[in-house]
Every structure is written in structure tokens, then in C-alpha cells.
Symmetry: C2
Subunit: 408 residues, 2 copies
Amino acid sequence: MSHAVSPLATPFPALPAIAGATPRVARARYKEWDRCDLTFVELAPETAVAGVFTRNVCCSSEVELGRANVKQGRARALIVNAGNSNAFTGYRGREAVEQIMGQLAAHLGCAAEQVFVSSTGVIGVPLPKDKAKAGVEAALSAAPCTWEDAANTIGTTDTFAKGATATAIVGGKTVTFSAIIKGSGMIAPDMATMLGYIFTDAAINPAYLQELLSKAADETFNCITVDSDTSTSDTVMAFATGAAGNTPINCGGCEGADAFAAALTDVCRQLAHLVVKDGEGAQKFIAVSVTGAVSDASARKIGLAIANSPLVKTAIAGEDANWGRVVMAVGKAGEPADRDRLSIGFGGTWAAKDGQPLADYDEAPVAAHLQGQNISIEVDIGLGEGRAQVWTCDLTHGYISINADYRS
Amino acid sequence: MSHAVSPLATPFPALPAIAGATPRVARARYKEWDRCDLTFVELAPETAVAGVFTRNVCCSSEVELGRANVKQGRARALIVNAGNSNAFTGYRGREAVEQIMGQLAAHLGCAAEQVFVSSTGVIGVPLPKDKAKAGVEAALSAAPCTWEDAANTIGTTDTFAKGATATAIVGGKTVTFSAIIKGSGMIAPDMATMLGYIFTDAAINPAYLQELLSKAADETFNCITVDSDTSTSDTVMAFATGAAGNTPINCGGCEGADAFAAALTDVCRQLAHLVVKDGEGAQKFIAVSVTGAVSDASARKIGLAIANSPLVKTAIAGEDANWGRVVMAVGKAGEPADRDRLSIGFGGTWAAKDGQPLADYDEAPVAAHLQGQNISIEVDIGLGEGRAQVWTCDLTHGYISINADYRS
């Protein structure tokens, strides 16, 4: 299965090497394909780790173990398997993950809990232990590769490799982020999952890294939606090697903490947008801005109701300024809203204000805006100060073709 | 805009006349079309009324007034406007509804609150008062028509007329139901809404009728979904003229109450299924049965998560027994579930049991089942006694064509 490259694809950026984080790739041949499908990132001792994981209660063993093991705060290795998600495979799936953790721990001389494993691909088939073992063995002796190689290797149904970078000044030292992500839709055929990994040379306390990652994810990954479906394996992890030599960031008041948090959030936002841009069948990137809600949380819920509405998404696909569908989506969000205070706009032009169509509404600039690739929908609820921005893509024939015309 | 008749369409059934409920139709010409678009049903004095209305907070004035006025329990007239939903039209929209209520009240010599109005069609355009006035005038002097005429007249983007009937024995008397509904999808281009009306000659206390209608709606209309979107105008009303002469049903213990409730629920279920069968782009009717949940409410939430999942719906469109997508949808419902107790089946054949694919899973009968028009998905959560059934249709290129290729 190979789909045309997304029209919203962007070139892979130049990602700097991160001292203390070394990527390698190998062929485990989890599927009948001739490509690398196992990624190994070796991490320097004392690398801080944090992670955010799917809320889907039917999650994979990888997610269960990862969620439990980030709590001890340190990582020595990341392994990502592509081609088999190992989800819904019972105890045999769990044994395969534990085998990989043990194999790496023996090689690196670390605790098994410091080895993190992700898998993405077909479900219901236990990850084959023999292929995993040989694949890991090959990766251990492979030459280091680029982040672009790693980004390609973690991908499954992705139509382009996705990466992001940023820097921040922390206590006079420059710290650098390089990050990769895979995923085309919240979930794709056979549950191709969103998996994102952020590497930085910053020195930071693991618990504080977790706090910052959770907050950044809330404003970025948790504000995107392709089809409202939630994978059983979604994972975003951050690894901080400490090689930059900055005074460790231990709390919100520390020198450079704000700069670090801003750069981390920036990287997360870049990655999140890239996932939307590889959304199945996506032709347009849609930013939904909600203002005037009773709270930020309420604004986000309203924004996601709009971004998840098939009728709003098909209207944008059809380049139709159908503000009535936006009204409907606001109303179904279950959040405080007053029909007679609601205003709706596209690309900065109001179509309706205070619950009524604008008498002098000029559709020409809106029509021109909707013909572009980057669409914005503005909604003012008129009740308070709450605001949020969420991102999605349009719903097209391409989505149906990928998901319905495809047979497992 | 006229779409091909749904492949799931069924012929309009023979609906009996209901003594005390007389339908008439007329041309108000709310749109540039040459068809009847205004329906008037005159109801005998003391007709009991009950209604359930959209929970969308951006609802129309029709819904606001209807919700308030069913509380007094009696109805003399129903007016349904097709071609203009009068939603999001501010005070001018409300004035138009109040004009219609006043016009009917003057003609029938009843209180304005006993006149119920619904509207469906384009939004953002106040219902034109002059057309409404002339249309009502024409309807008042029109000859009575059939229920099929009325079903056609309340329709907008519907591809076939929809009706249902049932009878019940109440205290030795036969009571009869005739019911009509419109809607193709929870919401269609320009917010074509679900509007359903049930007429019966039974004598029943209005408050008890409301109790029974709310319960029936909960098990039927609230268990269907086409695209997870909720119209601003959804309305289902029941009118009981009392002409059957039965001893009035006043409570749950009354003679015939159970039979009446069963017939009412049967009619609601028939109507609900017809709406799904006219779902935009629908090629298959899908029943999702959930058992073993911790409660009935939990089972319904899980069922709706499955029925609303674009990935499940596209899999069925592709005749693909993709049980992994069902697992994903169960997991994202946010309800108690245990991956290792979950079982998934199609058409009565289990594909996965207790969290793992069945070793002896025979896909042949499942593949044959999925090629039919009536699909069943069975999910057992394995935790308790909660059960529910919900209904939906598949998600096809037809849905995208209707909603994206269409321009307002």
C-alpha cells in the first residue's frame, strides 16, 4: 500500500545531531518488505525521559510498560518497531516487548526499565520474537544514521518523513532539540499510530521534563484531530541527554526554564502540524481559533467539536463557507454558548455576528481564502475570555479511498 | 439538488387514518420549487402532546417554543415548513413562528401554545412571514391528504418518503399509530434536520405520554447516528387524539399501558431505522450490539463510539472485517473495558475472543455477511450485564460527494 505524497508535505528539515543520542536502523523484516523497520536510539547514561501516552483503554503492552517505566525518569535506549503494532496480542505480545527490553539491558548494562519500546503496524499478530531478536542484534552493530533515516524507518503509511528542530538558551548555553514523528491520521489502516520522539542535549530533571512535556502535549498533540479516532498505541516521548552542560533545569523558576519550555512546545507544535499535514486524504490544513468561551478548556472542547465535525470538514473540502455547519458544531459541543452572541468567520472575515448573518457580508475574500491550502476558521462565543486553537485537515474522497477501498 | 434514491429505501407502508388527526399540505414556496412545502395537521380538541427536542444549544426558535409549550400538554395543530430551517435568524425568526402560531390559534379558536411549528431547510434566512401567512391560509382551506403526501411534504434532501404504523390493544380497544419522519443523516446539507411525528387515536395522559416518548426516544432515536453531527432543529413529537375511546392511560400500572408503550417504541424504532437507511451515501445498514458492559448506559456509549468511528464505518463500506478498528473504538469510548476480556464478532461469527484473534477464526462466513446490506457487529465487553443496540450506516464516497462536492 503506497499512497501519493500529501499535497501538504514539507521537505525534511536539517536536524542537528544531539550529543548523547545516537540513532541506528536495521531490517527486522516484520513485513514482507525490503526496508529498514527497526529503529534503535542509544542514549547516554543519566538521560532524562518523559512520555505522554494514549488514553485508549485498549492500549498495547508497549504503552503499558512505557507509561509505568517513565516514572523512574531515566532512559538508555529507544526501540521502535514498524510493521507490527503488537496490539491486542495478549501475554505473547507482552513477552516480545520484555524480550527486547532484556536484550538491550544486557547489551548496555542498564536496568530493563530504562529501555523504551514502541511498535506500529498490523494488530492482532504478536510481534515475532525471533525477528525482533535478530533485528535488534543487527541494529546494535549498525553504523549511526541520520535523523531522516530514523524518521523514515519509524514510518508506516506516512507519505513523507517528518521532523522538527529548535534551540533555546539555558543559563548561557545553547540547548538543541531534534525530533521525529510518524502518523498519518490519529489512526490509519491497521492502526498506524502517532509516535513522536524528541531528543535534546539539555540537562533537566526528569519530573520537570514530564511536567513540561505534558503541558506542551496538551497545547499541541491534544489539539489536533484527523478523524476523531484514537489509536491504541499513541506515544510521544522526550529524551534529554544533558550533554549541553547547562545547569540542570529543575523547576519553573530556574534560569532558562521558560526558554526551554517555549522551544519544547514549539517542537511539539511543529510535529503535531506535520501529522495533520499527512492526514489521510488531506488537501487542506485547517486552524480553528475559538475566542470568547467561558474558559480555555471550554474553548478547546468547542474547537475540537468543530474540527471533528464531518460536515465542517467536508464543507472545507468543498471550499464552501458553510458557517451554518460551524454553528451546529458549536451547539453540539455541550459547552456554554449563546446562539445570539455567536460570531463565525473564515480567514479573518466575519460571515455571521451576534447570531445573525452579516448584512454586508462580502463572500469574495472568504471564497478566495477557502481556495488556498491553509484555512482558518474563527469562532467567537461572546461569553468570556477563554480561547484555544486546534488543527485538523479536510475530509475528502481520499480518506474514504484509503480506509474503505483498502482491504486487510 | 436531487440525489439517487437510497439503495436501502423501502416502500411507503399503508398508514391508517387516525381519527382526530387530519393532514393537509400546501405550497408556501419557501424555495424556488414547484412542490408542496407546508404541512398542516389539525388535531381534535384535548389531543395530548409530548415532544423530544435536540440538545444542540444553538437550537431554533421553533425548538425553543416547542419545548416550552409541550409542557401544557395539549395540541390543536402542527405546522411543518420545508425549505427554510429558520435557524440562526435571531428575533426575526422568532416573530415568524409566533405569527404562524397566532394565525392558527385564531382560526381554530385555541391558545397559541397549542400550535406547534417545525421548520427545516436553509439556515440564516428568517422564515419569510408573507410566504408563511399565504401558505398557512392555503393549507387551512386545502382538502385532507394522505400521510404519504404529508411525509413527502416535510422532506427536503430525503431520497424516499418514510412512515411507520403499529397497533396495540388497550382495555379491549384497538389503538392505532401512524407516523412520519424526515431526515437523511442527523444533519444534511444546509442542516436538513430529523423531524418525526407520531399520531395515535389512543387516549392518554399528556405527562405519561411524555414519559413514554422520552423513554422510547432514548432507546431508538438516541441510538442512531449517521455522522455524529447533531442538528439544531431535531424534533420528535407524539400526538394522541383520544378518538379510540379507550379508558385513558394515566400511569404505568394502567390497563394496556405496556402494550401502548411497546407499540410506541416499535414505531419509534421503525422511524429511526428509516432515517439511517436514508443516511447520506449509505450503502449498508449497521446494527451494533454491545453486551457485557458494566451498565446499559456504558454499553450505549461504547456502541455509539463504534457507530461514530469513521474508521469502522469506512471498513464496513469496504466490506472489510477489520475488528482492530472496533477494538480501537471500544477503547476510545472512555468506558470501562478490559482489552483481555474483549470479544468482537460480525454477523454472529466471533473474530476475536478474550483479547486475542481466534485461532480457528473462519473468515468465510464473515466475508459473506459483509457483502450484504444488513450488517451486524457484536461486541462483548466481558465485565457485566450492561447491553445496548445502536444503528448506523457505512461511510462512503457518496457522503463526501453529497457534503463536499455540494456548494451552498
